[in-house]
Point group: C2
Chain length 412, copies 2
């Protein structure tokens, strides 16, 4: 990919993703392999007037090495100074820009217990930080760039450089970078969400029933006062930002104890560097009371055992099966992309912003309103070409929301 | 350079440099451009039984970008969480391995005030950490690998890859990696220091007088109980380690207020990414009362203005002009190498371990014994082919220590 276009992509990330404002502190989360892009991103942030850009570097290969070779006690603690570093930047309302490039198979063969114990320690330590970002107290955004290992996973028959170039092309297409004016295209995209959001929020369904030929038959109740969101969000000062580049989903928070039935995954789940494949859950009164997976069931168990909230749903998201990302027909092995190709749910914490008036609600009030809490938030895909979703309003009237994997409303 | 040899160099660094022991925590300081080597180094540390390896990453290009583009207030503070991270690892007596690869011209054109203010903030914040490492309470080591920018600076007429390969060859030669058994060669090298150290420690000179044709005429008094050190050092538990790879110097601490005369630099000084060239100092009762430099005099002024101890000498080091590194005839623009090609001094803090019995002395007692304290420690080169150093013992007897840039003792 030519450097000028990558530079423009960095600009999109800083401007539309994090929407960096004059005087903002900015934190860039990057792997050492992303250094060239992370520098361009920093330049874009300074161009927008950032007062300081801090890079929080990591090296995925060293992370794997640590899981394989460190002493066992290394996985039960998250150092206080590292937690403090998040608080330090949150106190300044620093804009967080996460560069995603991990090999989906990074942690293949690594002890699942080590990974889940460290995740649990990390999630517990960063609970406050996660609450701030999930309630939009700080602006944050995730965008991806190809790494050789990730590109090879998606395009296994191509040579290294070709695979990287092909993944760049896919990312540029999906993120509207091929439009004449990508930033303007994102403004239009964000506006386009408004019609569907207005429709769903006005319908105010009490529950949604999912069914398809894979065997999914799940009823999801919605809490009172729930809001459907999509596209740009806003921080507490009303400054818009796009948490995900790309984004095609409309999402809300389900009622914690109102989920019942069976749901079958339609795509593998890349979790902590491992692929969990062909899995399903049975829910009763909100809780996943049973589960199975053809591959990496133990990893899935570790995920569910994170805490009391990890077996409950925190997010419900609608994505038509004809989204630009679905049409591309690629499996990215990465939630940032795959969640935009498919209806999905998330296990774990729900977004408080999916409740009307959440700005003035305490965490306890958000929980009482029915939004799940957990140290984790992990999306999994359920959308299929034959998915049907039926909405039931407070008068018991049924409305088709999805027919054959697409918004029913679009047909009329 | 072939990967197997680089791997062996990483092993030398972990084993002879830091001397990583079973159960040690290890911190690797590395630039993102050093990632491949930093991974090999981590593997070597794990091979030696490290319980955990933490990488403290930095990116020199982003560092430069910050100096150029961040708001001015970014350079007056060093965050508490980052200071705490040093304390966290020091509390575990983590072994520190610093990978050096910086472009000597990294900060050319950057505001000298920003650099010196940030250095001052950093040095003040990390004072405790520096005291622990300079008194060998923790084991630490510095070794270098080529970066394209550094290699181009040394070999400006070579193409990028060739310059890097040439610098690898120089580093491998100088660090005894071309010996049949490099680790054994380092054991011999460390033993070879013992003869000269015993001679100088037995002589117990009261002062040393430096003279050469550049115009240097400097008398340096030595404190009572001073020790000459060189080669391997030992931590408080008696575990040996080599702080510098390579090392050819024999060093001690001068008497803080006992330095008088003029000293002229014999090599440029690479300080904070800037080259200070053709500089000299005049000392009176220990203090540099005047100085000049043909290039980057303002950077030099910033260095001397760090604190009250920055204008006093903290280290005196003897290196024969026929050392293997001198004979190579290269200017490395990097203290780790250039200090081993030339007699030198350091401005700033002296090593407490250069006093007999320092293990049981407080910082105040070390200062009272005459060893300088400062937040900085910066070496500069004074050795020349015609350098004469004469030692004066307590009875006023004169002994030639260096004649024509070499140890006089070697002639007999």
């Amino acid at each position: 990919m030519e450097k000028a276009k990558i530079q423009k992509y960095a600009e999109l990330f800083a401007r539309v993703g994090g929407n960096v404002q004059k005087g903002d502190a900015v934190v860039i989360d990057a792997d050492t392999q992303d250094a060239a892009f992370a520098r361009l991103l920093a330049e874009s942030a300074y161009d927008l007037g950032a007062k300081e850009v801090f890079h929080r570097w990591d090296d995925s290969i060293c992370r794997r090495l640590k899981y394989l070779r460190a002493g066992d006690e290394a996985f039960d603690a998250f150092p206080q100074w590292l937690t403090d570093s998040y608080d330090h930047f949150d106190a300044q309302k620093a804009v967080l820009l996460y560069i995603e490039s991990d090999d989906p198979d990074l942690l293949a063969g690594v002890s699942a217990s080590r990974v889940s114990r460290y995740q649990a320690a990390r999630n517990a330590a960063l609970k406050k930080h996660r609450e701030l970002s999930m309630s939009n107290a700080v602006r944050w955004s995730i965008a991806a760039i190809p790494s050789p290992a990730w590109a090879r996973k998606i395009f296994p028959t191509l040579a290294g450089d070709e695979a990287v170039e092909k993944l760049w092309q896919a990312i540029m297409e999906i993120t509207r970078m091929n439009e004449p004016d990508p930033i303007e295209a994102w403004h239009r995209h964000n506006q386009n969400f408004q019609g569907r959001l207005a429709y769903l929020n006005q319908k105010n369904f009490r529950s949604l029933r999912y069914r398809n030929a894979l065997g999914t038959d799940l009823t999801v109740e919605m809490p009172e006062g729930h809001l459907w969101l999509g596209g740009a969000e806003h921080d507490k000062e009303g400054v818009p930002f796009n948490p995900n580049i790309p984004t095609e989903e409309i999402f809300s928070a389900p009622k914690r104890d109102g989920v019942n039935g069976r749901v079958v995954s339609s795509m593998p789940l890349s979790y902590n560097g491992n692929l969990i494949e062909n899995f399903e859950f049975t829910f009763q009164d909100g809780q996943a009371i049973s589960f199975k997976a053809k591959k990496n069931e133990e990893i899935l168990r570790g995920l569910l055992d994170n805490d009391g909230g990890a077996r409950y749903l925190g997010e419900i998201a609608l994505v038509p099966f004809d989204s630009p990302i679905t049409r591309m027909g690629l499996l990215f092995y990465n939630t940032l992309f795959d969640e935009n190709a498919s209806c999905h749910f998330a296990l774990g914490k729900g977004y408080p912003v999916c409740l009307a008036g959440s700005d003035s609600m305490s965490a306890a009030e958000v929980a009482k309103a029915g939004v799940n809490d957990s140290l984790i938030h992990v999306d999994f895909m359920v959308g299929t070409e034959d998915l049907s979703v039926i909405g039931l309003d407070k008068d018991g009237v049924e409305t088709p929301v999805f027919v054959n994997g697409k918004f029913a409303q679009d047909k009329s």
